[in-house]
């Protein structure tokens, strides 16, 4: 992963975008994010992934909650549903149940996911709803201008923790691994190519795939999850990491200070749609 030292030139980048054709996935709405926001690379990553997987726009629904990250559906030219704070997973579950042919991508930030929406994650994971959940984790509430989030570091000073955050941060990967998510991975907005690969894999997985994307908030976090810090702290998963080994995945997930990037765990099991199909058969249906 040498890309962290490779400079990116605008002309070169534009050419690359034109050649890829994935700008087709961009909508006419301009993103509302601050310049330098990590969310740009996730938007880029998703459009690249959809382009690679050749999924028609019409068959993709991006569902989001509320927050900076949740503005995402407006910036891609698929179907989109910008819902309520914390409710992205149950709405996305309904979308998938309503039409199993759709590729459903749930999008949200760390507050939307782990604070107000925390109660829904275990159930989407254990049901193995065939969707992809992308959580852009910047450890702060950006849209409301800089309050602490469930993944903020201890001692972090924000507008709601002026005397330092005293709540121990959650470990999202540990949560998802123990909830029974059938695909768990981690990526970093500062490594856009790797991020695009990870999103592609997450969407390709049949079942509930959870991708945590470490993403700096350049406006409200000048000290903690910055590009400078993350560039130094992130590491790759060990080469010999066995993605079928849940305990190994959990061991890796423990190291939140030096987050490892890559696929932690994958497991093939029946999706909610398949379970419902089997239930119908057992009940005497076709």
């Amino acid at each position: 992963m040498n890309e962290r030292v490779k400079p990116v030139y605008l002309e070169e980048k534009l050419e690359e975008i034109r050649a890829d054709g994935h700008q087709e996935y961009r909508s006419k709405s301009l993103p509302t994010w601050c310049p330098g926001c990590g969310y740009f690379s996730m938007a880029e990553g998703l459009t690249v992934a959809l382009n690679r997987l050749e999924i028609p726009f019409k068959d993709v629904v991006t569902v989001s909650g509320i927050g900076c990250a949740s503005r995402f559906p407006f910036f891609v030219s698929t179907y989109g549903f910008h819902t309520l704070h914390g409710r992205v997973l149950p709405v996305a579950t309904g979308v998938k149940i309503g039409n199993d042919d759709l590729t459903v991508i749930a999008v949200g930030g760390d507050g939307d996911a782990f604070a107000i929406g925390g109660g829904h994650i275990p159930h989407a994971a254990r049901r193995n709803v065939d969707m992809t959940y992308l959580v852009f984790d910047n450890g702060i509430y950006g849209l409301t201008k800089g309050q602490t989030s469930p993944t903020s570091a201890l001692g972090f000073k924000t507008s709601s923790t002026p005397y330092e955050n005293g709540d121990v941060p959650l470990n999202p990967l540990m949560m998802l691994l123990s909830y029974g998510a059938s695909w768990v991975g981690q990526a970093y907005a500062g490594h856009p190519h790797h991020l695009a690969d990870m999103i592609t894999q997450a969407i390709s997985h049949r079942g509930f795939s959870f991708l945590r994307i470490l993403s700096p908030c350049v406006t409200f976090d000048k000290t903690n999850n910055t590009y400078a810090n993350l560039n130094v702290n992130v590491r790759d998963l060990p080469e010999d990491h066995d993605t079928s080994d849940l305990m190994a995945a959990m061991a890796q997930a423990q190291h939140n200070d030096h987050p490892a990037l890559g696929v932690y765990f994958e497991h093939d099991r029946a999706t909610l749609g398949q379970v419902m199909g089997a239930t119908s058969k057992r009940a005497g249906g076709d």
Binding site: V61, F74, G94, G98, P122, M276, A283, G285
Partner: protein, 606 residues
């Protein structure tokens, strides 16, 4: 004017949990329905699953249409004297009280029901326990013995009872069926040998008021399920809550064989969220809950309104606020159903008044939701959810979805999901439709669906105007007037489950010579203003009885019309009492100033 010449009797069976009281009532009402009677029945049981709480099963059996349970029963059957004694007073003069007169242990003074039977009531004491033991070697069939006894005493056909007993215990061992038939026959033998003293008559009238289809007896919740199934419900998301749970349990059985998607979610928020998600894709989606669940759903309901997503939410009310009275009825979630949530979020609210109405409203709810692209709330309550009535199901596939016309993208023009049209309803594309991709949002948005604040007034108009034609939705009873036509002295305005008692009251008031009519309002949002105004114009006095403390419906209509009404509010956890409404009607008819009369000051929201 209602003639009451045929059979019209009400049986109350009272016992302790574990006596088989509810099962006994169930066989009685199903047998009566099989004999062709109209049946209304309502069971009261304690919130505890096990224990010795009081159970009462009340069954009204009539040869003409009845609208509510009667305040007085014709027959009281005691399976447990301690529980039944307080109910002796509800038996009318010359009505019958059935009890066990052969006790195995001594009882304290006043502990036996025979000491409480009033002079004008007819006691029928017999050895219920002994007959059961002789017939089946067990006292457990006492609840079946009493059915046989009544069949013998009132000379009812035996075979319908046997048929229902066989059906009810079909999944049990043959010996259970045989024992229960034996217990029933032993009861018959005893009952027919008794000299009949009371004036309770049970006879089948000739003449048939059905529409030709076969009558089916069901509860309000059962009727909702049947309506949903006939409407081709495709996805259901629910979370258990009394008294709506049986809707979920029934759909869990019936949907999967039809390929329907059923999911028990982690809470009410996710239940409605998933219904919004499924409704957004074009699936016929629903959820059901009670007041506390609706309070949790309020925010998501607002998203349904804002994003213009069709879905159906059944709300069966119980006593509130908070956890309130989970096993008692009340009509106190009207405000929440009509107004609940943030912002100006008008939705369609239908409140059927009887079991047939539950069936028809549930059957049509999806089409209404799809027509106006809006959440539809079906507002019922525990009394309607759990009471049994005979229903005549619709012929054919009355509620099946009509095939959807696929939307085509217009060349050179962007697709406007929220286009401002003449009807204010916009052409709706579904995910999967080519070339019509768009994003919907809970943010205020322009015609394209993109966030926009400047258009808020125009979009508010659109979201409200599009619902106005709903009061003329074809085939839907939005409001209906009964009784005297033209100007009347007293008009009774009602909604929901308590309208049955209102109708009974009105017929009694008419019989007393009071010019009277009653109007039910089924669509609570938007209100059928024209028919409400016409009704008000015809009535000298308008009385609004309802089962809540604040007079929520009275506030709604008097606020909307800017005219005063007389409120009759009961928050007792029990159904309305005809006698109490009648007293108020008499008072109003005589022009006495009523302490209940109020303008639109308290609780009024227009």
């Amino acid at each position: 004017m209602m003639a009451r010449t045929g059979t019209d009797i009400q049986i109350a069976i009272c016992g302790s949990a574990g006596d088989g009281t509810i099962a006994s009532g169930d066989i009685m009402k199903r047998a009566a329905a099989l004999m062709g009677f109209n049946v209304i029945a309502f069971d009261v049981y304690p919130p505890e699953i096990r224990g010795f709480g009081k159970c009462i099963s009340r069954i009204r059996i009539s040869s003409t249409q009845a609208y509510s349970l009667k305040h007085e029963s014709d027959i009281l059957v005691s399976l447990n004297d301690a529980h039944a004694i307080p109910h002796v007073g509800e038996v009318r003069d010359f009505g019958a009280v059935l009890y066990d007169d052969h006790l195995v242990s001594s009882v304290p003074e006043g502990g036996h029901i025979s000491a409480h039977i009033k002079p004008a009531q007819i006691p029928y004491g017999f050895s219920i326990r002994q007959i059961s033991e002789l017939a089946t070697n067990s006292a457990r069939s006492r609840n079946i013995v009493i059915l046989g006894y009544m069949a013998g005493l009132f000379n009812l056909p035996r075979e319908p009872f046997r048929e229902i007993i066989r059906d009810k215990f079909a999944k049990k061992a043959q010996s259970v069926i045989d024992d229960n038939i034996k217990a029933f026959d032993a009861g018959v033998h005893e009952g027919q040998a008794v000299f009949k003293l009371d004036d309770v008559e049970v006879k089948r009238e000739s003449g048939d008021d059905s529409n030709g289809s076969e009558a089916v007896m069901m509860t309000g919740n059962g009727a909702v399920v049947r309506g949903f199934m006939e409407a081709g419900i495709q996805s259901y998301f629910g979370y258990p809550i009394t008294p709506a749970t049986s809707i979920m349990e029934r759909l869990a059985v019936e949907m999967p064989p039809q390929g329907g998607k059923f999911l028990q979610t982690e809470d009410e928020i996710s239940a409605i969220a998933a219904a919004v998600g499924a409704g957004y894709t074009g699936s016929r989606a629903a959820t059901a809950t009670s007041g506390p669940g609706l309070a949790l759903m309020a925010e998501m309901l607002g998203l349904g309104v804002m994003a213009e997503v069709p879905l159906v939410v059944v709300v069966s009310q119980r006593g509130g606020p908070s956890t309130g009275l989970p096993t008692k009825t009340e009509q106190s979630d009207l405000n929440l159903a009509v107004f609940g949530g943030s912002g100006d979020a008008q939705r369609i609210v239908l409140a059927p008044t009887n079991v047939e109405g539950c069936y028809r409203c549930a059957g049509m709810a999806f089409e209404i939701a799809e027509t106006y692209q809006v959440p539809v709330i079906l507002l019922i309550d525990l009394y309607l959810s759990n009471r049994y009535e005979t229903v005549f199901p619709a012929e054919g596939n009355a509620f099946s979805p009509k095939p959807r016309k696929p939307l085509k993208p217009a060349k050179g023009k962007p697709y406007k999901r929220f286009e401002l049209t003449e009807s204010s309803v916009s052409p709706r594309a579904l995910p999967g439709d080519a070339g019509l991709m768009h994003t919907v949002t809970g943010l205020e948005h322009n015609e394209l669906g993109r966030p926009n604040d400047a258009i808020h007034m125009d979009m508010s108009i659109k979201r409200h105007e599009k619902l106005k034609p709903a009061v003329h939705f074809p085939g839907l009873t939005v409001s209906k007037r009964f009784g005297d036509e033209g100007p009347v002295r007293v008009g009774i305005l009602g909604w929901g489950s308590s309208f049955g008692e209102i109708l009974e009251t009105m017929y009694q008031a008419q019989a007393e010579g009071i010019r009277c009519s009653a109007m039910k309002v089924v669509m609570l949002s938007p209100l059928p203003m024209e028919s409400l105004k016409a009704f008000y114009d015809d009535c000298d006095e308008v009385l609004v009885p309802e089962l809540n403390y604040e007079g929520q419906f009275a506030g709604l209509v008097s606020g909307a019309l800017g005219r005063p009404v007389t409120r009759l509010n009961r928050a007792t956890g029990t159904p309305m009492v005809v006698r109490e409404i009648l007293e108020e009607v008499r008072r109003l008819a005589e022009g006495e100033p009523s302490p209940l009369r109020s303008g639109n000051a308290r609780g009024a929201r227009s």
